[in-house]
């Protein structure tokens, strides 16, 4: 436990002593802010649009602002998370600090977990800061809090799965750019895998990383979705451990 904390602390310091964490935070907040207010604006506009007169009761903040906002956020994460994870292991190998880590009496699993938790912490900070927009919304309207909560839980699980993939990609190379591109590639495959199949119940549909997110945005927390993301995260960490433990990596 102490070992995990040591690595976690070191990674967090490293994130916040370099510009990358701040750039990622600012870009994420600006992007999420822009989309949020765009959706809000079109929602406000449509309220006065005569074409929407007949189903005005269906016009609510959740359906027209929160849901598309969450959907857009998932895309933004797809692009931003590889940037958070790319340096985690690639940089250690490049600077031969890997030799320090792996000749110290730490377990490889503790190193991997420390690194994963560090990126998860940064991601949590991103998510928490982005809730300011929701709070602004609550000041002006009264959206249903259930779907907002479940949506954010979904974003958290989705992002954590992205992080696990990114960590894995970072273990494959000593080049950060390669790590980012590889993780983006893997994520994209898992993203579009569902689109190719027509039936929701097919295996492809089950594997798709974004199909499981849909329920969360509707305010539905289903066990199968949660299980999917948790197993995804475990698999990513397991594979990373496998790579780091393998002879070829050294």
């Amino acid at each position: 436990m102490k070992a995990i904390c040591t690595i976690l602390k070191k990674e967090l310091k490293s994130y916040f002593s370099s510009p990358i964490a701040y750039i990622v935070l600012v870009v994420f907040l600006v992007l999420s802010g822009i989309f949020f207010f765009l959706y809000l604006q079109s929602f406000v506009g449509s309220q006065f649009d005569p074409r929407f007169q007949f189903f005005k009761e269906r016009l609510n903040l959740n359906e027209f602002v929160i849901r598309p906002y969450l959907g857009t956020m998932s895309v933004v994460l797809l692009i931003m998370i590889p940037l958070i994870t790319m340096r985690l292991l690639a940089e250690e190998r490049k600077n031969s600090t890997a030799e320090l880590l792996f000749t110290s009496p730490l377990r490889v699993l503790h190193i991997v977990l420390g690194k994963f938790l560090a990126s998860l912490t940064l991601f949590l900070v991103m998510l928490i800061l982005s809730t300011v927009y929701v709070i602004v919304l609550m000041a002006y309207g009264n959206p249903d809090l259930g779907p907002i909560f479940s949506g954010y839980l979904g974003l958290f699980l989705l992002g954590a799965s992205f992080l696990a993939v990114g960590l894995f990609a970072s273990s494959l190379t000593e080049n950060q750019i390669v790590a980012a591109v590889v993780s983006f590639g893997i994520l994209l495959v898992f993203w579009v895998i569902g689109a190719s199949s027509d039936a929701d119940s097919s295996i492809m549909g089950y594997l798709s990383i974004i199909d499981h997110f849909d329920n969360f945005t509707k305010g539905v927390i289903e066990l199968k979705d949660v299980v999917y993301y948790i197993s995804f995260i475990f698999l990513g960490i397991f594979l990373t451990h496998l790579i780091l433990d393998s002879e070829r990596w050294r």
């Binding site: 310091k13 600077n95 600090t97 320090l100 880590l101 000749t103 110290s104």
Partner: protein
């Protein structure tokens, strides 16, 4: 303290080290000498449990590095070929992190870090960012990192590589001060490093140990083989034969015109007689000096005969 037995490492088809065995006793400083690509780094990475061997075993302080890596790693301080530094950390912060991962107990930590910095002469840069420091300082921080947990064994991979002459002397001095209680292995491809800092040498070439000896024994060998170098001004014929007529001379060879290398039988000093002869014959004595076989020559001979 360190026992390496029949170590072999293959990278695919490439045999990096082949059946390497040697021992290092407590308090010894072993110089692991060999040209680039000989397999020094590979051997050190196996000793430090960074990577497993293909065949063979390594024991450090009694722990097998494959069976019991965590315990083995606790005994070792390791400086890789490139010092493993985080450029975005301060020297203080870095050593604090290293002390944590090397599991130095909290109450000793400050003390240990202070001692390591003092030993390596980096106390005055403790607040500086590592990324902004010179190569000499970076190497010292690398060594401080290796000794911060007070290990019984220190493994240094080419500790003076890429430093300027002044820095090299300083680092060698530092390594000498580290030894004593500790067992040290240091690898290098420059011979003087071994004669200056080590008590024992193992020469490795193309993955094989070609010579392993204590430095005292080696220098004894070096001194007993006495050759003389003679240079004369007048090039007469028959000089070689006349020198050979000395009882004590076993061999004479003319390396270029007027220059001779004279091998005397063991323990006989013929310099005086030889000088008299040259002067008496009016050959024009230009130079006469003992030609001790240097370690350098032994090194070159050992790696070229075995290597070819």
């Amino acid at each position: 303290m360190i026992s390496v037995q029949n170590l072999t490492k293959r990278y695919g088809d490439l045999v990096a080290i082949d059946n390497v065995s040697f021992q290092v006793q407590r308090g010894e400083v072993l110089g692991f000498l060999g040209p680039n690509g000989a397999g020094k780094t590979t051997t050190m990475r196996i000793i430090t449990a960074y990577m497993p061997p293909t065949e063979g075993t390594v024991h450090v302080a009694g722990f097998d590095v494959v069976e019991n890596p965590i315990e083995a790693k606790r005994q070792i301080g390791y400086l890789p070929e490139n010092p493993p530094l985080y450029n975005d950390m301060t020297v203080d912060g870095y050593l604090d992190f290293v002390a944590d991962i090397k599991q130095v107990p909290g109450k000793n930590k400050k003390n240990r870090i202070g001692l390591a910095m003092e030993k390596c002469g980096i106390t005055d840069v403790r607040k500086r960012l590592i990324g902004n420091l010179s190569k000499g300082y970076r190497q010292r921080i690398g060594i401080a990192q290796a000794i911060v947990h007070d290990p019984a064994i220190i493994v240094l991979d080419e500790p003076t590589l890429g430093l300027d002459p002044k820095q090299i002397i300083e680092i060698r001095e530092l390594i000498k001060n580290l030894s004593g209680e500790r067992t040290v292995i240091l690898s290098t491809h420059v011979l003087p490093e071994v004669t200056m800092t080590c008590t024992r040498v193992a020469i490795i070439n193309e993955g094989r140990i070609v010579l392993e000896e204590s430095l005292d024994k080696l220098s004894e060998k070096v001194e007993t083989a006495q050759n003389l170098f003679l240079k004369i001004g007048y090039k007469e014929s028959g000089v070689k034969e006349k020198i050979l007529s000395f009882e004590a001379v076993s061999n004479v060879s003319e390396t270029s015109s007027g220059e001779f290398i004279i091998q005397s039988r063991e323990g006989k000093d013929i310099r005086e007689d030889l000088a008299k002869m040259v002067v008496g014959n009016g050959w024009g004595l230009l130079e006469l000096r003992p030609l001790t076989q240097t370690l350098e020559e032994i090194f070159l001979r050992v790696i070229s005969t075995e290597g070819g």
